[in-house]
């Protein structure tokens, strides 16, 4: 029988839960735990420079691997600094376990130094949370936290640990539970057979179907199954911002992204569809536009593991609650048994219609003959320089949409962005979390000069741990997405969307011990990208690329319209 202190138990239990890295920042309430971290080597700790970044690092890791990322922070400000990161993970259903220190139990409630009610503050943005009330419970709570975080619809779980639960001189028997079971938590294991049958019948009789697949497919690790189903049916497939990569972007049946900045053909196909098959997507307002005008002729089939996502904004005709993969398996089996096939003439003419929409080339953009590059061409160059195979994280803004539209993701888990919360400052630490765990892969953070400054201090962390991510900053000298809305809706009054006093990013990168390269024109770009990926393979490279501040992201849905109501350029509307 092994006796361990609470702090030691915590670290051991994390190890037994499969943790290799903790992202964190120490402080008073956690010093016993940090001492336990010091005394072992199985779990490695990465010291960030701001706790928000620790959460995003853990999140990036989780998005790339599907496993929970782990954050460890002290009480009070350490804990509250993680809130944006926790909320970011929560909104996109990302598994995460956050260990927050707390003041001694007997001080809780007394407004003690660095006391905040972390459970209260985080409550609306966690899947669940625990407070440790007896050190002996620590292994079980850790195991439960991992189980809850990573099953069903994943999400962040906070464990609040009062300092007296971790005393080095108080030792207890350590038992890590072999199995976790919670009587009040049973994630669905499969969909309802009758509903699945109905869905298959509807698909077999569809004449203008669209498969609308989202992040749930990636989270469930079911991209191959989705692809097989799409190809088996020969139906068009569109992806949400969160779903990019779950169906290969270079595939013929791919319509591109849908929604606010979706492609013309994806949004047109949705609007005109007779059957919309939503797989692991949640009819977010950035997808549907006005819900009252959404897909007027479509019957809706909706698979989601979270029953509350179904019929929340759009009523489903065939709701299926269950894990995407298992439902798709059952659908495939039914399709194979079925004695009919979709009407091939109808599907062919549907494809013909879609191809006509594609002919419109709404994703076309005009390059400038001289002067600044367009952001789109920079993303296209990045795609080429990385053979379309990099992990690409992004921040939030125009650059994010350009990356989503122009970097053609053929694999799942490669496109890492804060889709639901839209957190500027996410991209760089997320990239760090990925690079640390995939050192042989190219990891690029596509960012803007606004967003990168929200967590730029992490360049210091990258030096300490040797994390050679590439930062591709599309520098338009403004908060571009804000500016675009101001151009479109506020007669061009650029209220506080101009980033005055930008730092010299090259010098800044250098002062942090990294490589900075400025790119001002098209002819410098290929070399700069090549240097970043090859010459400076093992260095962090900050590419500060000047792009045209006047550019807008198109297509863009017209507010309060239907899916097909779009601006296609500054002057052209559907």
């Amino acid at each position: 029988m092994e006796l361990l202190s609470g702090g030691e138990m915590l670290v051991r239990a994390l190890h037994e839960s499969g943790v290799e890295y903790i992202y964190g920042y120490p402080g008073g309430s956690l010093l016993h735990v940090y001492d336990a971290v010091y005394k072992q080597s199985a779990v490695k700790h990465v010291l960030v420079r701001h706790e928000q970044a620790a959460a995003h690092m853990a999140d990036g890791y989780a998005r790339a691997t599907g496993k929970p990322g782990v954050v460890m922070v002290t009480s009070g400000p350490g804990a509250t600094n993680t809130i944006t990161g926790i909320a970011t993970a929560f909104t996109d259903s990302i598994p995460m376990v956050v260990i927050s220190g707390q003041v001694m139990s007997h001080l809780v409630g007394d407004d003690a130094f660095q006391e905040t009610d972390m459970l209260g503050v985080s409550r609306p943005v966690v899947k669940h949370s625990f407070s440790v009330r007896d050190p002996r419970d620590i292994p079980e709570l850790v195991a439960k936290a991992f189980y809850i975080a990573s099953t069903g619809r994943p999400g962040p779980v906070v464990i609040d640990v009062p300092k007296d639960m971790t005393m080095p001189n108080e030792r207890f028997e350590y038992v890590y539970p072999k199995k976790v079971k919670l009587r009040s938590y049973t994630p669905p294991q499969r969909g309802h057979a009758g509903q699945i049958k109905k869905a298959v019948d509807l698909l077999l009789n569809a004449r203008k179907p669209v498969i609308y697949a989202g992040g749930g497919v990636i989270i469930d690790g079911s991209s191959d199954k989705l692809r097989a189903l799409v190809d088996r049916l020969d139906f068009p497939c569109t992806n949400t911002l969160m779903g990019l990569g779950c169906y290969p972007a270079t595939g013929d049946r791919f319509l591109g992204m849908l929604g606010m900045h979706g492609t013309y053909e994806a949004n047109m196909a949705m609007h005109n569809a007779d059957v919309v098959f939503a797989v692991g997507a949640r009819f977010d307002d950035r997808v549907t536009n006005a819900t009252s005008k959404f897909c007027p002729d479509a019957k809706i089939i909706h698979i989601d593991i979270d029953p509350s996502s179904i019929s929340k904004t759009i009523q489903a005709d065939v709701p299926i609650v269950g894990p995407v993969g298992s439902v798709l398996d059952e659908m495939m089996a039914l399709l194979d048994e079925a004695d009919s096939e979709p009407d091939s003439d109808a599907i062919a003419s549907w494809w013909q219609q879609i191809n006509e929409w594609r002919q419109r080339h709404a994703m076309r953009y005009e390059k400038n003959d001289s002067g600044l590059m367009k952001p789109q061409e920079v993303i296209e160059a990045l795609w080429e320089a990385t053979n379309g195979d990099a992990y690409v994280t992004s921040d939030v803004g125009q650059h994010q949409m350009f990356a989503a539209q122009y970097y053609k993701f053929d694999k799942p888990n490669r496109w890492i962005n804060s889709g639901g919360l839209g957190t500027m400052g996410f991209g760089f630490p997320a990239a760090m979390g990925i690079k640390l765990n995939f050192p042989d892969h190219e990891v690029v953070c596509v960012t803007g000069e606004g967003s990168i400054q929200m967590n730029i201090q992490e360049m210091s962390t990258c030096l300490q741990y040797g994390i050679p991510v590439k930062i591709l900053c599309l520098n338009n000298g403004s908060l571009g997405m804000v500016r675009q809305w101001q151009d479109m809706n506020y007669e061009g009054r650029h209220s506080h969307s101009y980033m005055e006093s930008l730092p010299d990013f090259v010098k800044l990168a250098e002062s942090y011990g990294h490589v900075g390269i400025q790119v001002k024109s098209r002819d410098e770009l290929p070399q700069a990208l090549d240097d970043a990926m090859n010459k400076y393979k093992n260095r962090l490279v900050f590419l500060d690329v000047a792009v045209d501040p006047e550019e807008h992201v198109y297509p863009m849905q017209v507010p309060t319209g239907s899916m097909r109501d779009m601006w296609l350029s500054k002057t052209e509307r559907t």
Binding site: L119, R123, R183, S184, P307, S308, S311
Partner: protein, 164 residues
């Protein structure tokens, strides 16, 4: 907009109630009444809440509540035959001829006068919400000095049981 009585078996743990209440605040749902108390199983509390909304809203509310890890079981009692009770303690002005009148009204509503002073009756009344409201109407709002109500508790009729 119908009234619904949602009955929940909740893990008897600190913080569980705040999650339920927080959910309502966070998602803009309306709580009209809320009662919580331990059950015969000490690991569980029984919570009854009344809320209003169209079918879609109520469906979301029950789904969101079910997602809370500490919610063990949930039923919308208004979907079936059920018994609904609320207890009210009410202080009313009772002077002169009013005293007899109020006493009679209390009797009709099967209320009990549980405390008396020269000018005030304190009456205890149990029933469904509309009965308590009818009582207040009957004695006239002007006579009411103070009310305190427990909020609705409910249970299904017949052999249906909400348990693990």
């Amino acid at each position: 907009m119908e009234k619904h009585i949602i009955s929940i078996l909740l893990e008897n743990e600190p913080g569980a109630l705040s999650r339920v209440v927080g959910l309502f605040a966070q998602r803009g749902y309306n709580i009209e009444t809320l009662t919580v108390a331990p059950t015969e199983d000490e690991t569980l509390s029984r919570l009854t809440m009344t809320t209003t909304g169209d079918d879609r809203k109520i469906e979301q509310i029950t789904k969101q509540l079910n997602k809370l890890i500490e919610v063990v079981k949930l039923v919308d009692l208004s979907e079936g035959e059920h018994i609904e009770r609320e207890l009210m303690l009410i202080k009313v002005k009772a002077v002169g001829a009013q005293r007899a009148e109020i006493k009679r009204t209390a009797d009709i509503f099967r209320g009990q006068i549980v405390d008396v002073t020269a000018s005030v009756y304190t009456i205890q009344l149990t029933g469904a919400t509309d009965k308590l409201e009818a009582f207040i109407q009957a004695i006239g709002e002007g006579a009411v000095l103070e009310t305190v109500r427990t909020g609705v508790s409910g249970i299904a009729r017949g052999e249906k049981i909400l348990s693990l």
